[in-house]
Each structure stands twice: as C-alpha cells, then as structure tokens.
C-alpha cells in the first residue's frame, strides 16, 4: 500500500496516499492519517524546494526532518472539457484568505475607515465582489495616531492591500502597513491619472498639483 503511487485522476473521497509520505495541498483533506481527495480533478505532486547551494556541515544535532521536506499532493479541477470545447473555461471560485495580497477599489471613506471592494486576489480575478475594510490603524505602521483616512485614500483609488482578518459578517479586514502596499492607481480632482512622487504624495502630471495618499512603492 505504501509503495503505490497516487492516481492521476481523483474523485472526492478517493485515497491518495499516506500522510507520512505526502503533505496535503489544495483539494485534498486528511482522514485517519491518510490523504483523500476532496475535489474532482487531476492529482499533482509538487516536490519541495531543495535548499540552495551546498548544504552546511552539520555541527550539531538537528531534530528530525521537518515535515516541509515531503512532497505536496494537490487536486486541481479539470478546467476545460475536451468534449465541450465551446464551453467557456470555468474558473474555480477563490476566496480571499488571511495573508493574501489583494487589489481593491475604494468605495467610500469615513474618518475611521475606508470601505473597499476586493477585485483581485493573488493572481485571480474574483467572480463575486467581496467587501473589505481598511481601518485607520491599519493604514501605515508608524505614527498610527496621526493617520487621516482622507489623506490616505479617496473613493475610486485602486489599492494593493493585505488581508489581515476574515473580519465581521460583511467585511474582510485589510491592511496597507507595508511599503509595497497602498494606492497604486488614482485620478486627481481634475480627472487625470496621477504619478507617485513620494510615499505619501501623488502628482497630477498635467496641473502639477500634489495630492496626499498612502502610496504603494512601485515595483
């Protein structure tokens, strides 16, 4: 049993392999120390990233190999049926998770928070629109008490933010407390797309006027 390789195609509930040899990835679940599929699709085995460069000489006793050494098994749903080529490529729904970097648009601002609509999660465009909230204390890491929401975001801005909590019933809680997070695209009051000037200023290239924002570091 332990020597068998996992199947290439999986059906929910199908046994994929023992948990002592594989790590559970997306589309799988653990049951009685065995990995089972939880989706219909193809099974992928991802080998763990090997340590770069020559391994250090062991000068002290290390604990047993970390579980991260094991290859990860995941099941990805079949995206397109060969029998139905006309059918649009079906995307699987994705949910924002804690730690994900998302792109969102500011809907409205209040002195305490900015309400945003989450549009993109990681690399995937979301099907449904999820609402997020950037609270005034999550805008930047320093001088939190001097943050003013209207000097950081305006409605219509596109913001890169990180999910910090699933939040309450309606909102995900987002944060822009890192350099690379913040406003990435905004239009000025005159309606021109602005360019970043500093970490808290954007400039309208036509009129030369400055506007205050929590600007994301260009990448």
């Amino acid at each position: 049993m332990t020597t068998t390789t996992p199947p290439t195609l999986a059906i929910p509930g199908q046994l994929l392999g023992p948990a002592s040899r594989y790590q559970p990835g997306p589309g799988t679940h653990l049951h009685e120390s065995n990995l089972h599929a939880s989706l219909v699709g193809q099974v992928h085995i991802t080998q763990p990233a090997r340590a770069l460069g020559p391994a250090k000489r062991l000068t002290k006793i290390t604990p047993a190999p970390a579980p991260a050494e094991l290859p990860t098994l995941s099941v990805t749903p079949a995206t397109q049926l060969a029998s139905a080529p006309s059918r649009e490529k079906k995307k699987r729904e994705v949910l924002p998770e804690v730690g994900n970097v998302v792109l969102c648009r500011v809907i409205r601002i209040t002195p305490r928070q900015a309400v945003v609509a989450i549009l993109v999660c990681g690399d995937t465009v979301l099907e449904a629109e999820w609402q997020g909230l950037i609270r005034v204390q999550d805008v930047r890491a320093t001088e939190k008490d001097r943050v003013k929401i209207y000097e950081s975001f305006r409605p219509g801005d596109v913001v890169r933010a990180e999910v910090i909590s699933l939040g309450d019933q309606t909102n995900y809680y987002l944060s822009t407390t890192r350099n690379e997070l913040g406003v990435i695209s905004a239009v000025s009051e005159a309606g021109n797309t602005m360019v970043p000037v500093s970490w808290k200023e954007l400039m309208d290239p036509k009129s030369g006027l400055m506007e205050l924002r929590k600007v994301a570091q260009p990448q």
């Binding site: 195609l9 999986a10 059906i11 929910p12 509930g13 199908q14 046994l15 589309g27 679940h29 049951h31 089972h36 939880s38 989706l39 219909v40 699709g41 193809q42 749903p77 079949a78 049926l81 139905a84 059918r87 649009e88 079906k90 699987r92 729904e93 949910l95 099907e127 449904a128 629109e129 999820w130 609402q131 699933l166 309450d168 019933q169 309606t170 995900y172």
Partner: protein, 286 residues
C-alpha cells in the same frame, strides 16, 4: 400561503374524463416487480448541464417498461460559493441552502409555484445529507445555493390520486436528490470528504395471505401491494458513514434485526447509485 403573483387555475382541478372499455377486473391489475428484490433501477447521471451555474447535474431513473409509469427526472444546479447577504451573521464555514421544487407538471396532482411543506421537508433532508459530506470550513463567509428541480416525479399515472401514499414517492425522490446534488457539488468544485449518494429500501408485502413481508431495494410503490416501512439513506462509501437517515413506517416488534437489515439494504442501494456517480465524475476528468 396563497400565490397572488400568478394566475393559477381553480383550486379544485379536475381530470379529463377517461372511458375505459376494459373489463372491471383489469382495473385492479398492478404491475409487479420484475427486478430481483436487491436490484436498483438503472440511472443516468450527467454533470455540467446548466452553463450559467457553477455546477450542475441531471439525473434520470430508468422508466419501467410499462407505459404511463414515468421515471424520475431531476435537474440540480449549484450557485456559489458567493458572498453572504449583508444581513447574515458571520459564519466561519459555508452556509448551505437547499431548495427542492417539483415542477408544476411533475406529478399527477398539479403542484403550485411556491414550495409546499413536503418540498421544504425534502430540502431539509437534502441539506442534512450534504452537510455531512461538505468540508464546510474551506469556504468561510460564503454561501452556496443548491437548487433541485423535479422535472418528472416517480409516479404511476394510472393509479388514482387517493390510492397510494405520496410519502413513499418522496423517499425515492429524496434519494435521487441526494445523488444529483452530490454530482453537482463535485462539478462546482466545492470540497467534499466523499461522494454522497442516496438509497431507498422498503419492507413490502406483496400478498394478502399473511406471508412474511420482504425487503425490496429501490421500491416503486405501485408495484407492491403494501409498503409497511421504508428508509432513505445518504451514505459515504469511503468513510462508511451515514449522513442522513429517514425512516418511516411501522416494523413488526417481533423482529428487532429488521430495522438494521432495512438500513443495510438502503446502504446497498446507495452504493449502487454511488458507482454511477463515480463513473460519471471520472468521465468528466478523464
């Protein structure tokens, strides 16, 4: 509840007169079961039938050779996972909502456009059956709608309205609903611990001579003289777990093992349906 939005026909619907020249004794002939007692009817299952839904499936149960006896035709669509409405409280797991609706023309007695109590009942049973199979915490703060439409009910058109209890039909319908919803959920890509399928077993009495009742799997109520008890089981084969059990009827108190045996036969029927389900799902990835 009255349906005020549509123009419905009169409440007391009548059937067109039907004149039958057959001799009176012919009226009472019931079709008898031709399958062995432990054989289920053939199933057809297909996924991905509704393009606009995130997942969908269609199930058809073999129509028996007798004309006028229709099989079961079910269509299921799964919408979501999607954001919960703003008024809903925070939920760390997926919120299932199941709707089972007979099409107005599905059964002999015309159904209304609003769900009645038996349809709501089926929905609740279906929800319990599926909740045991879904890994709900993979999708926090989201909801999924599972809508099963019964296009054709499992009914003998020749039996009169008064004859036969509709509840036994509901058992077969529920088992079909569970199987079709499991296929649609898998098509939608919602994480499940296993493929759940439904099965029905019944304790039937075919003769009036006081002979011992026997257990039949996947019963058609019109093929049996009397159904004493029936159970509908939703079963996970890999885990060997039952997620929903609906039992109805009376068992003779003398035989205590009968109940276990009845449930066991229900599980057997569910395993048969599961084989079809797995074949259908393997076809979509292969």
């Amino acid at each position: 509840m009255n349906d005020r939005r549509r123009i419905n026909g009169p409440a007391g619907a009548t059937l067109a007169p039907f004149f039958d020249d057959a001799a009176p004794q012919d009226l009472d002939t019931r079709s008898t079961r031709s399958r062995p007692p432990n054989a289920t009817r053939k199933l057809l299952l297909k996924t991905g039938v509704t393009p606009s839904a995130s997942g969908s499936a269609y199930l058809e149960i073999e129509t028996s050779a007798k004309p006028g006896l229709s099989g079961l035709k079910l269509s299921c669509s799964v919408h979501g996972p999607r954001a919960l409405p703003k008024s809903a409280p925070f939920s760390p797991h997926i919120v299932l909502s199941t709707h089972v609706k007979y099409a107005p023309f599905a059964t002999q007695q015309r159904r209304g456009y609003l769900r009645d109590s038996s349809e709501r009942d089926l929905g609740i049973h279906l929800e319990t059956a599926l909740r045991g199979a879904i890994i709900a915490d993979r999708w926090p703060k989201s909801g999924v709608d599972i809508i099963v439409s019964i296009i054709e009910g499992d009914q003998d058109r020749e039996t009169s309205k008064l004859q036969g209890d509709e509840v036994w039909d509901m058992m077969n319908t529920l088992s079909g609903c569970i199987t079709v919803a499991a296929a649609a959920l898998a098509d939608a890509g919602i994480d499940c611990v296993d493929t759940v399928a439904g099965g029905v077993a019944a304790l039937v009495q075919d003769a009036d001579d006081g002979s011992a009742p026997s257990i039949a799997v996947d019963p058609i109520p019109s093929e049996h003289k009397r159904i004493l008890a029936a159970c509908c089981v939703a079963y996970l084969p890999t885990r060997d777990e039952v997620t929903n059990l609906w039992f109805r009827g009376d068992l003779p108190a003398s035989d205590l093992d009968l109940y276990t045996s009845l449930v066991g036969h229900g599980i057997q029927a569910s395993k048969n349906a599961n084989r079809v389900l797995i074949d259908c799902l393997s076809g979509t990835v292969g």
